[in-house]
Symmetry: D2
Subunit: 337 residues, 4 copies
């Protein structure tokens, strides 16, 4: 931690800051520059009250020099975390491709899609039962019935199921029924939900918030891990920028960034980020090129008649063709599929 | 609704689109431009499946020409909504100033602040009991105990209390205990929460999400109103941009924008938006100049020792001085305080 | 300046950094934290090569603790700068309102607008002769002829003229012909232009770039001032964000921010920022409330037939009414008009 | 073009709009919806004054349905443009890799880098002689002398040279001396410069502005092409967003977007976008995966001692290794290197 004093600070003010820092258990080094005097903390600064110091007279600003996340930090956990998803493992050499429709629509639909993505090599089935829709007048998902259809598809195919949770009301039911619990972008800072998920035993797929920095994203992972559940899978799904041609702006440079900062596996969702089915292939391949540990892809057996997000869903045939390209891409970056 | 056809569309494709639109119950007008052919819907287009049409062969794009929100729309409700907050009313000629600490910290603290903001003319007391903190290691609020302290302060001062809800688990308790239920920026699209709040009888103070468009904000209000609770108060609290000098970028032009689009009252929070106490006064006055119906201001009896957000809290004396200026400002724009 | 070392740095790496800092003429203080070791510079760090140090082995990051701008910095120039514009002065107690059409269109038009804004109390006339248009097929301004029309209007009214320069080719001509040379948002980092304007004797009105931070904006002012021309007037005109209801997002909190960081006068352009004439009044009043030293407002005698930006131009009558309100607003914040 | 009327418009207002549209030479179709009446233009709407109509009484809004760029538009030029760069061609099957230092620093440096990137397979040499630096106190480039060093390197290696122009003052000299004239992000909307470059005979490498939409970028290409120079090469270099871990946010989904909208070749600059040398490899490979026609990469023989942007420069050895990977990547997406 570094404290920068204002020009014209008094000796008394400097003393005050020094004492407050020392009260937090650190030794303080003072360094007098020409225009600037700074104080550095020596020792563990965790117990120093940074906000209080920032408000003390004579203080210009205070800067943290270490990351605020610990359990998610690669510094304290240099090896990649390996998160089990059914029989697959995310974060290792083998890529994990999770595929399925935006929404579960019927027994037949989810089973048909499950079988086709399985035969193409997907490691898990995704499908929304509870849907976050910006309009209250849009289709809101089949809810509990949708979960049952997913379970049925799992029973018949053996594919683990991944689906989004939207409320703390459903934590218990999700823990019982699904294999990976997805937290959507809109709930990335729903801290009550994160805390409760931290007490479950199921892996959590944590999407990046639409306007969340990488640090905030890792802090949300930290919430889950601090509760005891260290099986967190991150998923980049595009951020909000001024550009409107694509639904969101896929931030692929976040992949090497997060891989350097954290040991957690990172997936990319090329469907939601672009919002356009014809862009999914190029962004999926680029994501693997950028170092992603896997993908979350929307596949629908009949996109023009999908109840939700048909515009960004690819067909089973397109998915099959994409998987072939991804195999070659994986090899090129030293991965497997 | 307007559909634009791709260059080189076929007569059959045009027919398909026309039929799909007509299936939604509208009459269709076709207009052939030089480069572009467009179809316009005549009649109520609500039942037309826009997403499906957007995916039909030959379609370049489809544009909505009406707002997707109805109950929040000023077109269908030209007069300002008046929302009761204790004995005050938000949305009328009289401005409403809601003030109090970021967090409830103790019986003494909340009562002292309540008394001082009341004597300066605040119409309600704010104070956080459940706190959304980006770090799991930060103070998370006094929770239920904090609600009790707020109730006690209300009992002794008569001021209605405003506090943030973070989970559907607490809807019932909040409805029973508080006067205005606040939904924070991070939960603006927590749709399950919005749905449940739509069934309560208490006014909802809905903060704008950090990266939410004005339309998305009004759609979240629509979620609450569609559930039956039309007492929604909007609150602009700054949006996330590339500028980092301020905590967020206060979007004051959103005030006249929302006032033209919707009949709901709009407040401004100059504390969270700037993150700096010395900016609160100028932004508070500017907000009233811009047409806001009131303000949400953080006031703390001892900012340097606040448990949360001291850097953006003003003191009771500063609040008192600000209220004097706001009175003059209110008169200048034809309002009262 | 503060250098943070990587975990696991070697004594040799630390020495290397220390020596490189000392080579820049500073004394170095080393402070060993639990997870972190930091080096602070004592003395004038201007000659230390920060980028080189950031690349040295063992270095995690390097942080500047002082602003990179000197001449524009209020720390070294605590009093407000006063910039003369004709007989008026910007930056003092009296506000300066600069008004006129987006584009100069004809002798009659510019003279008519000049006379009306003068009678309402404007201190200078604005009008574009060279226009930055996003399409090459749009009206590009009357160019040299437009400058002559502005000169003529000045001759007949006495109002100083403010107009935008778009190329270094015109610096000499502008210095000769106009009173205040405006640099538009798109040219805020056209450094060659800034350098050449730094050698002229005319005040420069420097608009903030669409996606420029406050620091970059002040650095562009520094370019002009470093060349010898200290008469720089800043102008906030809205930044680009994800919100599209308004043309740009007016950043009014930038006003108190810049006034605290710099001694230069700051204007606000409520016309370009909102892009909507009906929003100009509320944003103009709010800007003065926020502490602006004046305004730049588009006034057109016939907005529906303007050759450019009619949608954001107010009429002379609306301008007259606005000036009355601004007088009251000025008084409220201790200013004059 | 589509005009949407306000609720409650009068027959006279509708007539006025219709006549104004017809005055632009189009036939008008009126379609009456339940809440909305719209007018569609039949025929070539180029001569219709959209801004004027947007201001007419009774008009709610006006929407363009065709792109504003013509020469850059793939609709009117379905085949890829092939732009010659020395003996290479950009936009065809073969990828073009342009490499070299951020700044030309000396005869030896530029020649050494030129020879090494040539032997690794680069098709052109980049190097800055005129540098846009945010601080007037930073190294500004060797200017004319730097151009001479580039020419010398070309003479000795045969590599065509690419360098950035910053002012209209230098158009003639650049046209004479360099092979590809680069327009930097900060000058993407320096329209005077674009116009003058439109009259030269050299290919223009047009970087995307930091906060420019894809449409604005293509409009800037249109400026150059409208002047007669159709050899425009686009270059994505990251956009400004709220995320600050990377210098900018590389927008790789812009690649398939632009390739679908325009026939012009598109490069990616993984160095400026990330600002970090260790991210260059993954983003370079991802860019080719995304469909880019080539790359612009910063290579320096001694990054820790570079006069500019050493943090984002890779070494000749790293470049050599990258080229090997790019060859494999190219094959995977059906391209060559």
């Amino acid at each position: 931690m570094v404290v920068v004093m204002k020009r014209g600070f008094t000796a008394q003010e400097l003393d005050g800051v020094k004492q407050q820092m020392e009260a937090g258990g650190v030794k303080v080094m003072v360094s007098h520059g020409q225009d600037t005097t700074i104080l550095g903390a020596e020792g563990n600064a965790a117990a120093v009250d940074m906000e209080k110091i920032s408000l003390m007279p004579g203080v210009e600003r205070i800067m943290r020099v270490t990351e605020p996340y610990k359990k998610a930090n690669r510094k304290y956990h240099p090896d990649n975390s390996l998160v089990p998803v059914g029989n697959a493992v995310l974060g290792g050499k083998k890529l994990g491709i999770i595929a399925g429709p935006c929404s579960v629509e019927s027994h037949e639909q989810i089973l048909e899609v499950a079988r086709s993505v399985q035969s193409s090599g997907a490691c898990a089935l995704r499908g929304g039962a509870y849907k976050p829709r910006s309009s209250p007048y849009s289709f809101q998902g089949l809810e509990k019935e949708g979960i049952h259809m997913l379970q049925e598809a799992r029973e018949k195919t053996g594919l683990p199921i991944v689906t989004e949770i939207m409320s703390t009301d459903n934590v218990e039911m999700f823990e019982m029924c699904v294999d990976v619990i997805q937290v959507g972008a809109r709930n990335m800072q729903n801290f009550d939900l994160l805390k409760q998920l931290g007490k479950t035993s199921k892996p959590i797929l944590l999407k990046r918030g639409m306007s969340s920095t990488i640090e905030e994203w890792l802090m949300s992972a930290e919430y889950i891990m601090a509760g005891g559940n260290e099986n967190v899978i991150l998923c980049e799904r595009g951020i909000r920028t001024f550009e409107t041609f694509t639904r969101n702006t896929l931030d692929l440079s976040a992949i090497p960034a997060v891989k350097s900062l954290s040991h957690l596996p990172v997936l990319v969702d090329p469907s939601h980020s672009t919002g356009r089915a014809w862009m999914v292939e190029s962004m999926a391949i680029a994501a693997i090129a950028a170092g992603a540990d896997g993908l979350l892809i929307e596949v629908h057996n009949d996109p023009p008649n999908a109840l939700c997000d048909g515009a960004q869903s690819i067909t089973p045939d397109q998915f099959q063709a994409l998987m072939e390209k991804l195999k070659a891409m994986a090899a090129l970056v030293g991965r497997e599929l």
